[in-house]
């Protein structure tokens, strides 16, 4: 027997949205299947790799472990919402400049984790960058270029994404 579905409303990348889905369906699947936002990737599906990282109510979460009913009323930001008005986020520019992405599977999650880090701590030291990204695994880059990208983004842009959001408002 299948259990009742629910209508869940939340703010997705600044726009209100509503989905009708089984309440335990993973936010990851709702984003990718129902909402066709395929930037968010699935790696492990168990909270270990971070490739599904999105931001919910200003906090970094693994969308593979969020039942969609728990996103009701939340503000959700995915990789598709990181650039503003067609302009890449400073982190995206830095990843491009430094070779912080290779195959790209980890990249959306890595960028969301890095954006979260810089919002909380605009000038992290290398240990803080490592901690902020410790839940995000990359099979390609060996991490050094990713860390360099974050250092570069933090140095280039003292404007955090929070300040940018304030401008956009």
């Amino acid at each position: 027997m299948s259990a009742p579905w629910a209508t869940i409303r939340f703010i997705l990348n600044g726009e209100p949205c509503a989905v009708h889905a089984p309440p335990m369906k993973r936010l990851l699947d709702v984003l990718r299947e129902d909402l066709r936002l395929t930037g968010t990737k699935e790696g492990c599906g168990e909270g270990e790799c971070g490739s599904c990282s999105v931001r919910m109510n200003g906090e970094l979460v693994n969308s593979c472990l969020v039942p969609v009913i728990q996103a009701e009323g939340a503000t959700v930001q995915t990789i598709e919402g990181l650039a503003t008005n067609g302009e890449l986020h400073p982190l995206q520019k830095a990843f491009l400049a430094c070779g912080g992405a290779q195959c790209g599977i980890c990249t959306p999650g890595m960028l969301m984790a890095a954006a979260q880090l810089l919002d909380v701590n605009p000038h992290p030291n290398i240990a803080e960058i490592r901690e902020g990204l410790a839940g995000n695994l990359c099979r390609c880059t060996g991490f050094m270029r990713i860390f360099e990208s974050v250092v570069k983004a933090a140095a280039n842009e003292s404007t955090s994404t929070e300040e940018q959001a304030a401008h956009a408002r």
Binding site: P67, I69, A134, G135
Partner: protein, 292 residues
């Protein structure tokens, strides 16, 4: 294979009273889900997960940290990020902050709740040893009312606890009286971030005139559930700390610990490392270098 989301009911009544009503109307029928970092992982792995789930996420009455001068009350749905960000916890219960920083990645800590960690009751739960050595009390709530029990009496067996089927874990209370204590917490695992502990040991101790006047020792992964090591405490109480007293304390730990063999480690290794951690603390205490 992953479980089928459509086979589960999940509701989010949004208030504590509504959740308690639901749980009392059919005790044992509804299983709470807070941050889901245990339940959704079990679901992903195709392990059995309760058919009917009631969400505690986003219920403000459960996600709080309240400083009450003599103690601090931590709501069951407070996340480990909430704990790490709390100035009074950092200052007065530093072992709790440190343990919180170990509960997986930032993304995991943003969802993992204190209540979920304790109710899940893994022998390796990272927050447990710290709560045990701070003499924490657990507050349970149901539509019948609320009651408080020592956290040390909460776990009753492997993944078993003292909660009734209609009860929720409501809060954990920490008394504020450890400022003078030497405090120790160390976890041994394969790597620092995101690795489940092979062994962890926590201690709060008070020396008076060179003798142990108070001591609490607790461990993760040295028993089927997180425990205070009472025999170790007894061996040290009233004693000076020197090579003559350290040996019986080690021996007490080796005798009292009942660890298991599993994929992460063996019982023999866990006992030995547990004893080594205890000795490390005692030596630091003796030489006055017990860093917090």
């Amino acid at each position: 294979m992953r479980g089928n989301a459509e086979a589960h009911q999940m509701i989010a009544p949004g208030s504590l009273a509504a959740v308690l009503d639901l749980m009392s109307s059919a005790p044992g029928e509804w299983t709470p889900i807070a941050g889901g970092t245990e339940i959704m992982v079990a679901h992903a792995a195709g392990k059995p997960v309760a058919e009917k789930l009631v969400s505690l996420w986003g219920i403000p009455e459960l996600r709080f940290i309240e400083d009450r001068t003599e103690s601090i009350a931590i709501g069951a749905a407070a996340t480990f990020r909430d704990l790490r960000a709390h100035a009074a916890i950092n200052a007065d219960w530093p072992l709790v902050s440190r343990a919180s920083s170990w509960i997986g990645s930032i993304a995991n800590q943003s969802r993992a709740t204190v209540g979920g960690n304790l109710v899940n009751g893994s022998p390796a739960a990272d927050s447990s040893p710290a709560f045990l050595v701070y003499d924490a009390e657990i507050e349970l709530v149901s539509s019948r009312g609320s009651r408080r029990i020592p956290y040390a009496a909460f776990h009753t067996g492997y993944k078993q606890n003292a909660m009734a089927p209609d009860e929720l874990l409501y809060a954990i209370h920490l008394p504020r009286r450890f400022a003078q204590h030497r405090q120790y917490l160390r976890k041994v695992g394969t790597r620092r971030a995101m690795a489940v502990a092979k062994v962890a040991l926590a201690v709060t101790a008070l020396l008076k005139e060179g003798q142990m006047s108070e001591i609490r020792v607790a461990a993760a992964s040295l028993a089927p559930f997180p425990v205070r090591l009472v025999q170790v405490e007894t061996a040290l109480l009233g004693q000076p700390i020197n090579s003559i007293t350290i040996q019986p304390a080690r021996a007490a730990l080796l005798a009292e610990a009942t660890p298991i063999d599993d994929i992460r480690s063996t019982a023999t290794y866990r006992r030995q490392v547990g004893a080594n951690l205890l000795e490390e603390f005692l030596i630091k205490l003796r030489t006055g270098d017990a860093s917090k």
